[in-house]
Each structure stands twice: as C-alpha cells, then as structure tokens.
C-alpha cells in the first residue's frame, strides 16, 4: 500500500467517522468533534493530493455487485492539485464551522451532511472512470443540498434557494451525464483513458464537448447557468457558502480541465472561442452585479461568477491558441487560469469566512447597516482586507500574480515569432484583454466598497456598534487563508511550477522559478518576482519613512480645530456613504444592462409641500438573465402544468380511457 492508496482509504474512513460522530455525538461536543474530524479529513486530502501531485501512483479499487467495471480511484497529478485545493478549503471551513455553527447549523443532519459533502468533494478529482466520477459528484451535490437546507425552519427563502440549487444541479448533472454518455457510446468504455481515444474532430467529440462544458460551467457558476449562485450562497451557512464557493466550484473547473486537457486535448478553434465567450460574459456580468450588490454574501457570490469567468477566459484562450500551435502562450494562459483558480480558493474562502465572522458578530450582512467594524474586529478586518486585495488583483497577493500572467499570455498570444497567429486570435485576444481590464477595474471598485463600507467609517446600526471579535477557532482559518493569499502572491514560483507539472505529461508549460520564488514564463519572455520587488521597494521606502518619522518628531503635531464645521461637528453615521450610494454612479453608467428598479417615497411634514419629514429610497437590481431567460421557461412550464391539470379532472372514466388509449397505442405500435 503506497502513500496515495492509504491516503484515499484514510480519507474514506475519516469521512465515515465524521458522519458517525455527527450523527451520534451529543450537542455539547458535536461541533468540536465533527469539525475536528472534518478538518483532519481535509489534512488527509492535502497529504494525499501532495503525494499524487508529486507523481506517486496508487489506486483504490472498489468492486461492485453491479455488472460494470469496478470503481477505481487514482488521482493523477492534476487530480492531486485539485484535491489539495479542495481539501485545504475543506479543512479551513471545518475549523471555522466549529465556532460559527449554531442552532440548526450545528444539528446532527448538518454536520453529517458536511462530512458527506467534504468527503465526496475531495474524492471527485481521484475518479478515473465515469461511474465513480458521477457517483462522487452526486454525493457532493447531495451533501451540499442538505447543508443548504439547515436554516429552513427560520427562513422561508431557504426553500426557494434549495429548489433552485437542486434544479440547477440536476441540469448540470444531466449535461455531464449526457456528455459522458456520448463519449462512452463512441468509445465503448467508461474509463477516462478509453474516452480519450475519441478523435477530436469527430461529431461525438464535438457534441460531448458542448454538453460537458455546459454541465461543468453550471457547477462553476458561469453565465447563464449561474442563477442559483446569488440565491444559494447567501442562504447557506457562512462556512458552507465558503466551501461551496471556495471548493465546490473548483470541481466544475476540474471537470472543464478534464475535458480540455485530459480527454479532448486537441480541439478545433471554435471550442476555444466558445469557452472564451462564456468566460468573458461571466466575468463582466458577474462583477457588474457584484459591484451594485449591497448584501455582502450576494456580492461575494457574484464575484465568484466573475473569477470563474476569468478562469474560463484563460482556459478558452489556451484552447484557442493551442489549436493554432501558439503553444507557449497557450501554456501560459493555462497556468494562469489554474493559478487564478488556486488563488481564488484562498481569497474567496477567506472572504466568505470573513463575512461569516461579520454575520456571527453582528447578525447582519447588509452593507448599508454595517460599518466601523475595523476597530472592533481587527483580526477579521485585517484578513478580510488582505483577501479583498487578492480579489481586486492588487500586488503582493496571489490574485495579482494570476491576472498578470493571464494578461501576459493574452497580450503575447496573438503573435508567434512576430507573425500573426490567425485572424480569430487577433480579434479574440485584444477583446479578452479588454474584458480583463474592465473586470479588474470594476473588481477594485467592488472590493473597495465591500471593505470600506463594512469595516471603515462609523457603525451604521446598533448591532454593528456593539460587535465583538470572533473566537480564536474562527480567527485561525481566517489568518491561514489570508496568509495563503499573501504567501502565494509573494512567492508564486513553486506553485506555478507545480501547476506546470500537474497539467502534463502531454502539455508541458515552460514555467520556471526565478529569483526569490518568482515565476518566469520563458516561452513568452515574462518574468515576475514579487518577493524581490517587495524587498527592493522596502529598501527604498523604509529610509524615506524613517526620515519622515524623524522629521515629524522634530515638529510637534499641529491640531487644527474646525472653525466652521459645516454641519460636520454633528457628524452622524447617516451622513456617510452607503453601499448603495457608493455604487450609484456605476448603476447609472450601466443602467441598460442592470435595469434597476427604484422606489422613492417622500413623506411631507403636515400640509407643507416644501418641508420633508422622511424620504424612503429603495433600489433593487434584479438578475436580467433570470428574468429574461429563466422566467419565460418557468412560466411556460407552469402554464403546461395548469393545462395538464385540465386533463386530470378526477373522473375515473377519463383515467380508464387514458389507460385504454395507451394500451391501444402500444398494441398498434407493436403491430406496425
């Protein structure tokens, strides 16, 4: 038994142990025991994934009573990378859950479902055949659905979220199943190695590609299959939302990579264009919705759509450029996409856990009622701030490194040795750069809002003003997540090299570690060494700061009392920017896309038309895709249901007639 094999067994056992503990232990130590076991499960996943990423081979074979091939779990390098990411997120959220889960969130069902969810999710990247992949995929979905329903008794919106989630999950599953089905029918085997033998230019490959892309894109929250995200993530308990956004979504990315890198590595250009368009639209649409959201979790949920859009943008660019033999740029784009995936796991988990900490301390997630938490919750504020830097792709964070690499790949992609690669790439790459730039700008605005409104300024509600810092068991995962964001940002070299090894052996990106764990893309002459840059900047800045500090000491501090405060002497929290007012200019600019509905209600003082007692402003931004694309379908389904009701009027004769007619139809069909 080697490391990978025993690691897989340990994971399965730990998951079962966690389920048992969750179901059997009393409430007094249920959260602690099950959370600790889930965290251990995550650690086991990290170790196993690391072994697999290091190149160790090992397989866990599970024979079945059914007349199909036994299930074989054997993660390759790519699977190992995803197992590490997913397990790390799982370990962090389990630790956080120990502190944050209260009431229904800490029930037997919830903790058992948590173990099922995490266990299934960690093992999906290990699957080597269609059956085990789909089985683990559904276990993951099932566990997360049960977790989502934790608070169903206290909030009615949870039901609607769960129904949306189930329906969209099943839609994704249907697409994935159909896609794999096409490949299985074309090749005659269920193992991934057999599926990979399908010729890339045949119609089964094309059909399967589209179906699988839609299926995995739905899990990865791509537009237009993202409609569950803004409902589900805000309704789920915070640590569950972190696991969904930080880890489960990555399984969708894994699926897409499985298709584009492992099964069908040499697709035609239009595959790349399709992924590019899906990714680009998702990125822009997601960040636009995020920038106008005033609920912290909705904002983070839409931001996930944006980030996954960028990951798919990189993937699409990679597939497109590879089809034109621009290998170096294609590899760089692929590595960038994976780097973004890993860094998104780090910063989005931290952000969702931070939101969970805010909710834990204040019971409030509406940004318009938060504020001033920076002083009261320094740990949460600090970690949330660092993760926000990552989400806004600012330097010293991993988000910056990833987007920088993606930008390099896109800029260098259209040309190969000074020659234009193709017309399609020459049009697509600049557009992709524009999308990336627009997204980065809006992301900056969005996270300035998220951090500034929630943690800076004065508290906008009483709950925010009496908030207390969360217990250490919730702070530890926050700090670890923030450390990961900064660590990967300062030393991206080893991770990039690991990613380059993971996507092999067919694709071998030319990625090296340079300087102080910096990264070098030799193929497109791009070098980034943030660690060295930070040290250099420090060497320049520290003397300046010292000089300024010394100079400041020489002059006593001047205090300027306000001669005329302009109302400022009575500064009240209501005078500050709110999340809604901060996003107002953006809403006006993108009015046609967002189509907000505004409701202004003015109450006058007595009979006066000029004196105003109260102004009530309400603005809601609905999801255009939901109202325009899904509503009509849902309404049609409803109409069909009502029409079908007419056929079912309770008359036994009519039902007998239906059966008789059906029997006759069958007989006539047989005799034809």
């Amino acid at each position: 038994m080697n490391a990978v094999q025993s690691g897989l067994v340990v994971q399965a056992l730990l998951a079962l142990a966690a389920v048992a503990t969750g179901l059997l232990s009393p409430v007094s130590w249920r959260s602690r025991a099950t959370g600790a076991l889930c965290a251990l499960l995550g650690v086991a996943g990290i170790v196993t994934g690391a072994a697999a990423l290091g190149g160790a081979n090992g397989a866990l074979t599970i024979p079945l009573a059914l007349p199909i091939d036994p299930l074989v779990l054997s993660p390759d390098r790519l699977g190992g990378l995803f197992m590490i990411v997913v397990s790390a997120v799982g370990a962090l959220v389990s630790l956080f859950g120990i502190g944050s889960a209260r009431g229904a969130e800490a029930s037997r069902t919830s903790w058992a479902a948590m173990a099922v969810f995490l266990g299934g999710m960690q093992l999906v990247p290990a699957a080597t055949d269609v059956v085990s992949f789909l089985l683990l995929w559904e276990i993951m979905t099932l566990g997360s659905t049960v977790l989502l329903l934790a608070d169903h008794a206290s909030r009615s919106t949870v039901y609607s979220a769960a129904i949306w989630y189930s329906a969209m999950s099943q839609l994704s599953f249907f697409f994935v199943l159909a896609g794999f089905g096409v490949l299985v029918a074309a090749t005659g085997g269920t193992g991934f190695q057999t599926l990979a033998t399908v010729p890339a230019d045949s119609w089964p490959a094309n059909l399967a590609f589209v179906l699988l892309l839609l299926g995995f894109g739905g899990k990865a929250e791509l537009v237009p299959l993202h409609v569950w995200v803004p409902r589900v993530l805000p309704e789920a308990p915070s640590h569950v939302a972190a696991a969904m956004s930080g880890a489960m979504v990555k399984i969708g990315v894994y699926g897409a990579l499985l298709v584009c890198v492992r099964l069908l590595p040499s697709g035609p250009p239009w595959w790349g264009v399709l992924i590019l368009v899906l990714g680009g639209v998702s990125a822009v649409y997601g960040i636009l919705q995020a920038s106008v959201a005033s609920d912290l979790k909705v904002l983070l949920a839409y931001s996930t759509t944006e980030n996954m859009g960028l990951v798919f943008l990189g993937l699409g660019a990679s597939v497109l450029l590879r089809s034109y033999n621009a290998t170096a740029a294609a590899d760089a784009a692929l590595v960038a996409a994976l780097l973004l995936m890993v860094s998104h796991a780090a910063f989005k988990t931290t952000l969702f856990l931070g939101a969970g900490a805010v909710a834990h301390a204040t019971g409030e997630l509406n940004l318009d009622r938060l504020g001033g938490l920076g002083k009261r919750m320094p740990w949460t504020a600090g970690t949330f701030g660092l993760a926000s830097l990552g989400a806004a792709s600012l330097p010293i964070t991993s988000g910056f490194v990833a987007e920088w690499m993606l930008l390099q790949a896109l800029i260098h992609g259209a040309r190969l040795d000074g020659e234009v690669v193709s017309v399609a790439a020459s049009i697509a790459m600049p557009l992709a750069v524009a999308v990336l730039a627009l997204t980065a700008g809006l992301a900056l605005l969005t996270f300035v809002k998220a951090y500034g409104i929630a943690f800076l300024a004065r508290p906008r509600s009483r709950k925010a003003s009496i908030a207390r810092e969360v217990p250490w068991v919730m702070r530890v995962p926050l700090v670890l997540g923030a450390l990961a964001v900064v660590g990967l940002g300062l030393m991206p070299g080893p991770l990039a090299a690991a990613i380059a090894a993971a996507v092999g052996p067919v694709i071998v990106p030319d990625v090296h570690t340079v300087g102080l764990a910096g990264v070098s893309l030799s193929g497109i002459d791009a070098v980034l060494d943030p660690g060295t840059l930070v040290i250099l900047a420090g060497l320049v800045l520290v003397p300046i700061l010292v000089i300024v500090a010394l100079g400041a000491r020489r002059h006593p501090t001047r205090v300027d009392p306000l001669p005329w405060a302009g109302g400022g002497s009575r500064l009240r929290p209501r005078m500050q920017y709110t999340a809604t007012s901060y996003a107002e200019p953006l809403v006006r600019v993108f009015d046609d896309v967002l189509r907000p509905s505004r409701d202004v209600e003015v109450t006058h003082v007595g009979e006066s038309r000029y004196l105003v007692e109260k102004v009530h402003v309400e603005q809601t931004v609905s999801d255009v895709i939901e109202t325009r694309l899904y509503r009509p379908v849902l309404n049609a389904a409803q109409r069909f249901g009502l029409a079908a009701r007419r056929a079912q009027d309770g008359s036994i004769h009519r039902y007998l007639g239906y059966s008789f007619a059906a029997l006759l139809v069958v007989l006539i069909a047989v005799s034809l």
Binding site: Q648, D649, G650, I652, H653, S659, V670
Partner: protein
C-alpha cells in the same frame, strides 16, 4: 378421433367466449350480463378441460374444475345475489349499441393483427385461438371505460380477467394449479372488495355512478 375434434372444440369454446363478451357490450341489463358472465365462465372451464384432455394431464383438468367453480358458478352467484339485494338502476350507456358493437369488431381485428406479429412462430391450434383472449382483454377494457355504474364496471373487469386467463391457457397450454389457485383467490377477493365498496357507495349516494366521484384530484 379426439385429435380431429380437438381444433373444433377449441374453436367452439373460444367462439363462445368471444360471443359472450360481445353480447355483454350489447346488453345493458345487469342480470343479462351476469348470465352471460356465467356462460363465459363455463366456456373458459370447458376450454381448460379440452386442453387438459388433449395433453392428458390431470393437473390441468383440476384447474378446469377450479375455473368452473370460481368463474362459472361462484362469481356469477355472488354478483346475482348482491344485485337482488339492492335495487338496480338502469345503465345509461356512454356508447350506443351499434357503435359499441362496431368498436368490438375493430378491437377484435386489432387483436388478430397484433397476435399475428407476436405469435408468428407458434403454429399450434391453441396459439391460433389466442387472439380471442386478447380481444376479450380489449373488450373488457372497453366495458370498463364505457360503463357508468360501478357494478357494470366490475363485469368489464371480470371479462378482462377472463381474457388474460384465456391467453395464458392457450399460449402456455395450461397453468399450474398453484398459480391458478392464487389468481382465482385474488380475483375473488377483488370482486368481494369492489362489491362491498359499491354497496357502500349505493348506501351513501343512492347510486353507484362513479362519474360523481370527481373531487379526488389536485
């Protein structure tokens, strides 16, 4: 000698079965239907007996006796007894006699067409007669759909059951005694339950028109 009369006997029995089924569609009186059902039961028993004699198996002849007791005598007696106990309402048909007889003809043709496909390989005498059983199933179903009263529907159900039994006997050359015992018991039980049910309906609503039971839907 039996070898030459065997096909004729089979033809006679199955012909009676089909004739009684068609007549049941034509006649609307409850009492007439019950008599026809009794004749049908007797014909079915005779059919089984003929098959048993031809095969020379005692078990099949025992089955014939069982069929005679249950379908020829038992069930019609139960139905007649029950019908006398309560006042009968006249059956207002959903389909007039001409149209229903025409439908019976069409259903019989369909049964023959279907059977010619399904039983194409089987050339035995009994297999040739099997379409009658299928036609009876369809006619029984037609009775179920077109009759308003719960009791008349029961007749349709029994014709349907007789049709299934006919097909079984003709295609497999006799059913094991244990199996037939089980099936007969089932049918008997269903008839009892439906009769109690219909009686209670009659007490509660004054008739057994099941068109009035329409509230049970969403």
């Amino acid at each position: 000698m039996f070898e030459t009369t065997y096909p004729q006997l089979i033809g006679l029995c199955t012909g009676t079965l089909l004739l009684t089924s068609a007549l049941m569609v034509w006649r609307h009186s409850m009492l007439a239907s019950i008599r026809l059902l009794a004749v049908q039961g007797l014909a079915l028993a005779a059919l089984v007996a003929v098959i048993g004699v031809q095969k020379g198996e005692l078990e099949v002849i025992l089955v014939a006796v069982l069929v005679l007791l249950v379908k020829g005598l038992g069930l019609p007696w139960v139905l007649a007894h029950e019908s006398k106990a309560t006042t009968r309402t006249d059956e207002a048909p959903r389909l007039n006699p001409t149209a229903s007889l025409l439908t019976v003809a069409l259903l019989t043709i369909l049964a023959y067409v279907v059977s010619s496909r399904v039983l194409a390989r089987d050339t035995s005498v009994s297999a040739h007669a099997a379409p009658i059983g299928l036609a009876m199933v369809l006619i029984g179903f037609l009775l179920l759909v077109t009759r308003r009263q719960a009791r008349s529907q029961l007749i349709g159900f029994l014709v349907l059951d007789n049709g299934i039994a006919t097909v079984a006997f003709l295609t497999s050359g006799g059913v094991p005694l244990v199996l037939e015992l089980g099936i007969s018991l089932d049918v008997l039980l269903v008839v009892m339950i439906l009769y109690v049910f219909a009686g209670r309906m009659h007490n509660k609503f004054g008739n057994t028109d099941i068109d009035q039971l329409r509230k049970l839907h969403d």
